[in-house]
Amino acid sequence: MTRYGFVIDSKSCISCHSCAVACKVENNLPDTIWWNRILTDGGPNMDTPAGTYPNLTIRNIPMACQHCDNPACVKVCPVGATYKDPETGVVRQDYDKCIGCRMCMSACPYTGVRSFNWEEPQYAIGQPMGSLDIPQHQKQVVEKCTMCWHRLAQGEKPACIDPCPARIRFWGDFDDPSSEVSQLIREREYQHLLPEQGTKPSVYYLV
């Protein structure tokens, strides 16, 4: 079996948003949509620290779909438009099937990783960008990180991995003990986001 997922050494994340932008371009995301976002554990605004100078703290947490082993979204979709690929463990979304009920958005504990196209998708430069292999974005359906399914199909890594200048993003197969990601979670301490929700995410944050 294969269980693809991510390891993110978020302690060293510099919040440059390169992975978020790479994702947005590769997947030709509509104007108001970000599948991958950098959250700031600090002040009230993005990229601001908590505390008073010089005692400031900040932690950056890149967050997208957690591709859970026990996904809350898959269970509640009435038509199976969101489903877990049994071969790879990727939680997928079928735009053509989605009826736009938004039950998955409500069920997902990871606030904001799922987006709805509230209007006809619009693009900043007026024409599509990124990969030619991605499915067309549709109005009034739910979408989210696909783990760059189109790239996986060609034997490539997701688009968010290599652009990271701090080299803190890793992708691979957790069921393969010799993979880089398996080694990392063997050797380093890690956390899941919201482990109490019991969703068993496939994104591991090194601490």
Binding site: T32, I33, V79, R102, P109, Q140
Partner: protein, 399 residues
């Protein structure tokens, strides 16, 4: 809505005007729904972090309203006890109308309503939403069949035993429809406010409160309009029942608040939000209206027709307040509140930061949602009034 039938013993001018007004409002509602779909749901106030709004609130509310009629009508028949006079058929008609509204509110909430056929082609039977669609459809068909059986029974074409069997099945289905609607919310571990085993029984009790309130209101209104004769004793019986349901509902509310608050952990945020936070008007609205309605129901000297009608209205509004608390409250407390990029799709009040978006109510409906919702409600009233006009809903002799 019942006022319009004034001086209409056999559905006179008032009823016809009521039907006309509702038809016009329903057509406007459909037109606005088309506008919503073509221009995009961006015209609503719903956004990614508050992805359900007025429509799903009203869906919960109307599922509840549909309870009263059917239960008031079927319990006496199912258990072979004395009923509530001649309101039985009118009560079931109100159930049918409310169920249509509930289904209508789910449909107007969908982003891709033309794909609803997929629900039957690709049914994921593990989804609570799928359960609800199945139970709601069954419930609507059963309500119609039950109404038909009552009419036929009066004509001697359906036996009392058969009617009793149908009423038992209808009663079970009514309990199920509220439980399943609760499970759409209550089975989601991601919303602490919703994730409680109490939610299903609580939905049943809330449904009984607003459903009985509606039947009481309709009965008083129709009696006043001369549509049916009803002894005051039946109204008093309904009122006592309403009082009991109100107390049970408040008891569940108290149990839930205590369980949330006592560990002084995560659940405390839910209680704070309700008692003194952005949803306080709806929390206190529910409490005050429920208590006021219960007082009217329990104090014999207060059980005059106008006050009982007011108690019915208060009970219905109290449960509407409850629905707003549940829906908006569910989105008011995010699991992850670390700030990130904000876009017009993120949250209703997206211009500031997340803290500001959650400072007041995270969601408040946009004008188009009010218009569409009014249209769906008008459709339900239209169905009810058409029933009054064209169906033999008046009590049979001797009832």
């Amino acid at each position: 809505m019942t006022e319009r039938t004034a001086s209409a013993p056999k559905g006179g001018k008032g009823l016809t005007i009521g039907i006309g007004v509702c038809a016009v409002l329903a057509v406007i509602g459909v037109a606005l729904w088309v506008v919503q779909l073509t221009g995009g749901m961006v015209q609503t106030a719903m956004r990614n972090l508050d992805s359900w709004g007025l429509y799903i609130t009203m869906f919960m509310f109307f599922v509840g309203l549909s309870a009263g009629g059917l239960i008031i009508s079927s319990v006496p028949k199912a258990f072979g006890i004395k009923g509530f006079g001649g309101v039985s058929k009118v009560a079931v008609m109100s159930s049918i109308a409310a169920t249509v509204a509930a289904i209508g509110f789910v449909v107007v909430d969908l982003g891709q309503p033309l794909r609803v056929w997929e629900l039957f082609a690709y049914s994921n039977l593990g989804s609570p939403l799928m359960w609800d669609i199945i139970v709601l459809a069954t419930y609507l068909v059963l309500s119609c069949a039950y109404l038909w059986a009552q009419v036929q029974a009066e004509r001697g074409k359906v036996s009392a035993t058969a009617l009793r069997v149908i009423s038992v099945v209808a009663l079970v289905c009514a309990i199920l429809v509220h439980s399943v609607t609760a499970w759409i919310f209550g089975l989601q571990q991601s919303h602490e406010m919703w994730h409680t085993a109490l939610l299903a029984p609580w939905f049943v009790s809330s449904a009984l409160v607003c459903g009985t309130g509606l039947v009481l209101l309709v009965a008083i209104g129709l009696r006043r309009a001369g549509y049916l004769a009803l002894e005051q004793a039946y109204l008093v019986k309904l009122a006592k029942l309403l009082g009991a349901f109100l107390v049970v509902d408040l008891y569940f509310f108290g149990c839930d608040l205590l369980t949330e608050a006592f560990p002084a952990a995560g659940g405390l945020a839910v209680v704070d939000m309700l008692v003194s936070g952005p949803l306080a008007p709806f929390f206190w609205g529910e409490v005050v209206l429920s208590v006021a309605a219960a007082v009217v129901c329990f104090v014999p000297s207060l059980r005059t027709s106008p006050l009982l009608a007011l108690a019915g209205v208060a009970a219905i509004l109290a449960i509407l307040c409850k629905r707003v608390q549940l829906l908006v409250g569910g989105f008011q407390i995010p699991n992850i509140e670390w700030p990130a990029v904000m876009t017009p799709s993120t949250v209703t009040n997206w211009q500031g930061n997340l803290e500001q978006a959650y400072a007041g109510m995270v969601y408040w409906p946009a004008p188009i949602e009010w218009g569409v919702a009014l249209g769906v409600v008008a459709l339900a009233v239209l169905i009810f009034l058409l029933g009054l006009k064209f169906l033999p809903l008046k009590p049979a002799d001797g009832e």
